[in-house]
């Protein structure tokens, strides 16, 4: 028996760099899977978005009204709708959503200002009505807050005299809190001193507290489905909160059973191997890179630098939770207050992950097409890098200056726009969107000829469509305006935070991973296509409508709560499935490595994919579902359990993926003698151990304790600085230190070293073959001697 090798295209058209064999009258290569897949995916996708549009309509129709005027029973003006809107501006401009939260949404150090105002004002009102144990006083307090005295015809909201008095007292309280020269709150000392701004800010808090307590017209629960829990005003979980929690559990159990039943019945679903053909992996250093691919080395270096900075500012923000007083004796809050470092931490997480995704897209195009770059492609790639650097640096400095009052009326354009995850000024947000469109143009230029020859549901088109969806969905975030009502802005904000990050990045990721496996010869195109379309069906069924699980208590009607709870339960199902499938990725890699005559070059890139599978299940699946039930979310929103989910899912899934893409590309960019599997191994283990330490030692126990406190004592109390800084919490926060140090030094450090090597060499290898060849493997055929002699004359490439 002898071996012969052939081009991967030899066995027929595939997703890898292949000559196209067209088989349709249009001259395009026909669809590689059944039309039913495309129709099912299209139907579920459109249904999901129809419901989202419907929820958008409900958002605009049913969000809590902002009254034109608020007056006391005796007719004295308290504040106006203009004050509320201006207060929202003050809140956003000063980055207070990155310090505390409003309607439960925002950061976790400072208080939730809705719950804070509600509790403090209810306490003052009850004290005004009688002694602490007085039933009459308690009943009158509940009546004051629960009765909706807003008149939609006149736009006038009437506060009781006791509520009016509480407003005046609390204006003084917030003046003291925000103007405190001593600091020690995590904010800059004397952060807000203007009495007008303080009054506007207090009006905003007062309005949010009113919406969270006053009964929605025609209902016996508030605009926020009775959130937050506050016994003083009679806020307790509504029937909807309990009912949809139960139905959500049933959806999860039923859906998981149905999915596994389907996989048992149709065993061709999921990842399966590239038959039993033997592959010979091309050494990465034998693959001639194009100029645009070589340019991505700078992207990966930028990515790791941004990653490093993100971890450092994250460590600074964590220090505030361990010690509010100072940073080892230094008054950090004077220069880098908590809300600034937290803003940077959140923004940089999106920036560095996006940088890796953008670079990976550019890197893959020549491998997909098997062609050299089109003219000027590398120049456009460098231009994209420059644009990215401009947006990153501009937006981060804008946030710093914006929080300090720069830019005047242009604050929301150039400075701190202030919505968590959409903190960057509108100009930077717009430029980032344009940059992503520019990136899609780069991909289009490279793919154009290939796309012309392909059916629109084959892999190259799916790759292009998944990329195109990123700027399109991100652009919806531009509709979050600082002068809209909070509920409306939150609707658009979560188009980015959830729909863009959790669904469309997930889709792009699936397509990229599938394509990489096809390019490596690990799976056939048909298998990859089936997996992608199955993912579209599963994510669209749960993830699109499931966006509403962020809107349980922000002023949306109960119908949105029900839809969010029920459909977001389905989000866990594909995550469970993907975890099972993660080992199939590896199984495929293993079979090929064991059969291959050469080493599998992407061992550590694949290991990062394994980590993605693990954290997808633990971080997104378990920790996500832990806080997903409305009844749990009711007490835990804005606590450390949310941070626990956010870190395990964002870093565990998208972070590990971004690093995995970087390691895949760096394997080609770094010369053989400079590449170190050991460094990749150290980075892999340090990132995973550091993340696990962060979760198990600090965030999870902190979250459990805080949830218990919120149920036992009250949500307001569980969000106070006094609670956050208590002895037990402080101990748990300090215990996080070793894991964080390991994460930064052992995890990011080696990665940075490899990225530097990649940027220095940029794929200029010494022993490159003469001809261009982007194939990453060759298929080895085992032939009987008689066949071999015949085949040898055909392939002419015996190995």
């Amino acid at each position: 028996m002898t071996n012969s090798s052939k081009d991967p295209s030899g066995g027929g058209p595939d997703g890898a760099a292949t000559p196209i064999a067209t088989g349709s009258r249009s001259g395009r290569r026909p669809l590689q899977i059944g039309k039913g897949w495309v129709q099912a995916a299209g139907l579920v996708f459109l249904t999901g978005f129809f419901v989202v549009v419907l929820m958008g309509y409900l958002t605009y129709q049913s969000s809590p009204p902002i009254p034109q005027r608020v007056v006391s029973t005796s007719g004295q003006p308290v504040f106006t709708g203009q004050d509320v809107r201006a207060g929202q501006d003050v809140f956003l401009r000063n980055g207070l959503m990155e310090y505390g939260s409003i309607f439960g949404h925002g950061a976790y150090l400072g208080p939730d200002f809705t719950a804070d105002y509600l509790h403090r004002s209810a306490d003052l009102v009850r004290a005004g009505y009688g002694a602490a144990g007085s039933d009459t006083a308690a009943q009158r307090t509940r009546t004051d807050f629960k009765t909706n005295r807003y008149d939609p015809t006149t736009g006038v909201l009437t506060f009781s005299d006791a509520q009016t008095a509480a407003f005046a007292t609390l204006t003084a309280h917030y003046a003291e809190f925000f103007a405190s020269p001593a600091g020690k709150t995590g904010l800059r000392p004397a952060a807000i001193t203007d009495p007008t701004q303080i009054r506007q800010l207090t009006s905003y808090f007062a309005w949010s507290a009113w919406a969270s307590a006053a009964d929605r017209p025609g209902s016996d629960y508030s605009y926020t489905n009775n959130w937050p829990s506050e016994p003083l005003v009679g806020n307790a979980p509504s029937a909807h909160v309990v009912l949809w929690s139960v139905l959500s559990l049933i959806a999860l159990l039923g859906g998981t059973g149905a999915l596994f039943a389907a996989f048992g019945r149709w065993d061709w679903l999921g990842w399966h191997g590239r038959d039993q053909h033997e592959l010979r992996f091309r050494e990465p250093q034998r693959v001639r890179l194009t100029a645009s691919q070589r340019a991505t080395a700078w992207f990966f270096l930028t990515m790791t630098v941004l990653f490093l900075i993100q971890t450092l500012v994250g460590a600074a923000s964590e220090h505030y939770r361990a010690d509010l007083g100072s940073f080892f004796g230094l008054p950090l809050d004077h220069w880098l207050p908590y809300n600034l470092v937290r803003t940077w931490h959140v923004q940089l997480s999106l920036f560095w992950v996006s940088t890796s995704f953008l670079a990976a897209g550019v890197f893959l195009v020549p491998m997909i097409t098997g062609r050299r770059d089109v003219k000027g492609q590398h120049l456009l790639t460098y231009t994209l890098l420059g644009a990215l650097a401009l947006v990153v640096v501009g937006s981060l400095l804008g946030e710093l200056a914006g929080m300090r009052g720069a830019f005047g009326r242009a604050w929301s354009w150039l400075g701190m726009q202030g919505f968590e995850y959409l903190d960057l000024g509108k100009l930077w947000q717009l430029l980032l969107t344009v940059g992503m469109i520019f990136w899609v143009v780069i991909l289009w230029r490279g793919l154009r000829k290939r796309l012309r020859a392909e059916s629109r549901a084959n892999l190259p088109w799916l790759f292009f469509f998944a990329a195109l969806a990123l700027p399109v969905v991100y652009a919806t975030g531009l509709l979050a305006r600082h002068d809209s009502g909070y509920t409306v802005t939150d609707f658009w904000r979560f188009m980015v935070v959830h729909l863009w990050v959790e669904d469309f990045l997930e889709l792009f990721t699936t397509v990229m991973v599938a394509y990489i496996f096809v390019l490596l010869g690990v799976v056939r195109e048909k298998v990859a296509l089936r997996v992608i379309f199955l993912d579209i069906v599963l994510y669209s069924a749960g993830g699109v409508i499931g966006t509403a699980h962020h809107w349980y208590f922000n002023g949306e009607p109960a119908a949105v709560l029900g839809l969010g709870a029920f459909f977001s339960a389905f989000e866990v199902i594909p995550l469970t499935f993907l975890t099972v499938e993660a080992w199939s990725f590896i199984r495929l890699g293993a079979r090929q490595e064991a059969r291959s005559a050469s080493d599998f070059p992407h061992r550590w890139a694949v290991m990062f994919l394994v980590a993605v599978g693990f954290w997808n299940f633990v971080g997104a699946g378990i920790f996500g579902f832990l806080i997903n039930l409305p009844i749990v979310s009711y007490y835990e929103i804005g606590t450390a359990l949310t941070a626990n989910h956010a870190h395990a899912a964002m870093m565990g899934v998208y972070g590990m993926l971004a690093v995995g893409f970087a390691v895949f590309a760096l394997r080609y960019l770094v010369p053989k003698d400079s590449w170190s599997d050991r460094l990749a191994s150290i980075s892999f283990w340090s990132l995973n151990v550091g993340l696990a330490w962060m979760v198990f030692v600090t965030l999870l126990p902190l979250g459990i304790l805080q949830l218990y406190h919120a149920v036992d004592v009250g949500y307001y109390d569980a969000r106070t600085l006094a609670y956050v800084g208590n002895r037990t919490n402080t101990l748990l926060e300090w215990l996080r230190l070793p894991g964080d140090v390991l994460f930064i030094v052992g995890g990011v450090g080696p990665l940075l070293w490899l990225a530097v090597r990649g940027a220095l060499h940029r794929g200029r290898h010494h022993d490159l073959p003469d001809q261009d060849d982007q194939h990453l493997f060759t298929e080895v055929q085992h032939l009987e001697p008689a066949e071999a002699s015949a085949a040898g004359s055909i392939t002419g490439a015996a190995t």
Partner: protein, 145 residues
């Protein structure tokens, strides 16, 4: 007993159970020729099953020496189990520094000893898995040559 000490003892014990569970999970054979979860795959590719009973390409004849990546689940699970057990030990030690009532000291010590024993055992398992993985890779390379 203070709430903090009780919480630390309870949470540390949960972490130890998680560690044991993860370690056990890591020992499950992930080969498509052995896993019941992949019975469908085995049926479809039954022709590829080795005649000598050893799984093709995935495992060597000696099942104690799994080829890459079938050594990785064991290492990954055992590694994360060890982090959980170490975390339990650190939490218990930190709690012991602050709580000195007799019942607290007894329970914290018992939990700490259990955690220490588990860390030691997992450390050994990790080293064994590591050397098995190295042997497996060397074996694959030898087979190639």
């Amino acid at each position: 007993m203070t709430f903090e000490a009780a919480f630390m003892i309870g949470y540390a014990n949960v972490l130890l159970l998680i560690a044991l569970g993860l370690h056990r999970l890591g020992r499950v054979n992930t080969s498509p020729w052995s896993s019941r979860a992949l019975a469908g795959h085995q049926r479809r590719h039954s022709d590829d099953a080795p005649h000598d009973g050893s799984p093709p390409g995935d495992m060597g004849p000696d099942h104690d020496l799994p080829a890459w990546p079938h050594g990785e689940p064991r290492r990954l699970h055992t590694g994360i189990a060890m982090i959980a057990a170490t975390a339990a030990m650190v939490l218990v030690v930190a709690a012991m520094v602050r709580h000195h009532a007799t019942a607290e000291v007894l329970l914290l010590t018992a939990t700490g000893v259990a955690a220490g024993a588990l860390v030691a055992r997992l450390g050994n398992a990790l080293r064994t898995a590591e050397s098995l993985a190295i042997h497996a890779r060397q074996r694959v390379r030898r087979q190639r040559h």
